[in-house]
Amino acid sequence: MTQTSHTHNESRLLTASSQKTMKTRRGKHERSHNWLYILAIPVLLIMVLPYIYLILQSFATWDQVNNTLIPTSFSLRSYEWIWTGGGFTPQPWLNALFNSLLVTGVDSVCMVAFGALVGYALSVLQFKGRKFVNNFILFQMFYPAIILLVPTFLVIRFAGIYDTYWAMLIPKMLSLWAIFMYTNFFRSIDNEVIEAARMDGASEIGIIFRIMLPISRSITSVIFLFVFMERWTELMWDLIVVKDSTKQTLNVLLSTMFGPYGAYPGPLYAAGTLLTVPILVLFILFSRNFVNGIQFVLR
């Protein structure tokens, strides 16, 4: 619940709620615009250039790193350096990558699972106080999270989990945005499906995991992608609650390496590549569902 996730929350809430699109059918307004490629392709190249630069530099020989836009000779030396720890034992980079995968994996799964559980309760189960909870979630999403940063940090200290994995994991296990999205999506699912499952004696938890989540595959993949990305690229929170370098995430380690390791830019690019590839892989895996799901998120 730090400032970054706040802006993301707010952003997605806004896109979800205040789009006052006019109802219409899609026009056949499109004429032939072949000339547009002259503009579109260079723009696309600029948008992906930093990724290409990052990956090429990570494979460049060290005499070419940072000197050439497109390296001509390649080596795996930067990755070897990452693998061996560059003479510093133990391997800080691999360790940080493991930390990132652990923290992000656990938190993303929790955010999706809790999002589905709470979203189901708030949309399907007709309990008293449901409306109040729904409204309170909206209030929280618009509440400036930056105010909570320092006191939340102090709560972590009081709880005695400062400088542990728990300090990174627990405060980010729940995403208000995920709850909000699931609540809205489950509301649109036909109640008869749920009633039928209940008749067959399915428990509410069973209904969530056997029926609701499979139905909502595309929205789930978008939610998972967004919460994963947010957690994976989180900087400030992980920076302040963990000081022990063996527990730092890859994002934090890389952000603090700009100074002392500046002399070894190659490994920095390799680490940056390792930090980028998981999100890209996830995005490609989900891209089919993503196109459908993002429509709902943006609506």
Binding site: V118, I147, I179
Partner: protein, 305 residues
């Protein structure tokens, strides 16, 4: 016992169990909100009147001293100014950028999804990684400066100059957000009825007038959404200046978040850090309200409500 009360009791039991299950399934949220929202919320109100270095066992009550210090602090004032400077540069650039990308996606004859996915990719990047790339691209021996020196004989120190450092950070965030915002504009473009364009054609409008008189005004809802999002971004920049400039040179890229981080977690001044955070939130809220009003006023005049 007749059948009817029996049925009712059964129904009652069912609704009681529904009630219980509702709260049970909401309990992760309720516990989480208590610990990470309500307690910090109350605690933050207490904290702004305290001085606490986290070493001494208890905070010391100092009244309004934190506010006095923050309001006269040159660093806070600089953060205040930088956030507006950023906004003035960022909002027009990201608007033009994202509308442009949306128009490309909308009108390009083929490979629409390729373009829209490609434009979205920057949103997935970690700010740390994009800072790393930008630092490399703009370094003295980096490809850009080497090229500039070979052509013009001289090259600027991009991050060593206040104006260009600011421009670099603005550029990075435009790069990051333009593709994401363009998705909002694309759904806005798809919502424009074809009849409007046909009517405009009958009135003799050319493509240029159609764009200015039809497309842009019809994009108002998307424009409004993106505007509010971009204002929010302007007050919460951290990663890029943290990794690239540390707020420099001469505090030209000093942001609210950098100041809160420096005070609360570098100098360990919890009370003062919380106070700066509160001021940041107040300034953000007021700015968003004012800008919303202005945008809504403009929208009303153009027939939106």
């Amino acid at each position: 016992m007749s059948a009817i009360p029996m049925k009712r009791r059964k129904a009652n039991r069912a609704s009681a169990s529904r009630e219980f299950q509702g709260w049970l399934l909401s309990s992760p949220y309720l516990i989480f909100t208590l610990i990470f929202f309500l307690i910090p919320l109350v605690y933050s109100i207490y904290l702004v009147f305290q001085s606490w270095d986290l070493i001494s066992p208890t905070p010391v009550f100092i009244g309004l001293d934190n506010f006095k210090e923050a309001l006269s602090s040159i660093r806070v004032r600089q953060a205040f100014l930088v956030s507006y400077e950023f906004m003035v540069l960022f909002i027009p650039s990201v608007m033009i950028g994202s509308i442009g990308l949306a128009l490309i996606v909308q009108h390009v004859p083929r490979f629409k999804s390729l373009f829209s996915v490609g434009f979205f990719l920057p949103y997935l990047a970690s700010g740390v990684v994009s800072s790393l790339v930008v630092r490399g691209l703009l370094a003295y021996n980096g490809p850009l400066n080497t090229f500039l020196r070979s052509v013009f004989g001289t090259s600027p120190d991009w991050l060593g100059n206040g104006t260009s450092a600011m421009a670099v950070i603005v550029g990075m965030l435009v790069w990051k957000f333009a593709g994401y915002y363009s998705l909002i504009f694309v759904s806005g473009l798809q919502g424009i009825p074809n009849e409007v364009y046909e009517a405009a054609s009958i009135d003799g409008a050319n493509a240029w007038t159609k764009f200015w008189r039809v497309t842009l005004p019809m994009l108002y809802p998307a424009f409004y959404t993106v505007l509010i999002l971009a204002v929010g971004i302007s007050f919460s920049i951290f990663t890029e200046p943290f990794t690239l400039t540390h707020g420099g040179p001469q505090m030209a890229t000093q942001t609210w978040q950098l100041e809160i981080y420096a005070q609360a977690f570098d100098q360990f001044r919890s009370g003062y850090g919380a106070t700066v955070a509160l001021l940041n939130a107040i300034v953000t809220l007021i700015s968003i309200i004012v800008i919303r009003r202005l945008a809504e006023y403009w929208g009303h005049r153009n027939g939106w409500n």
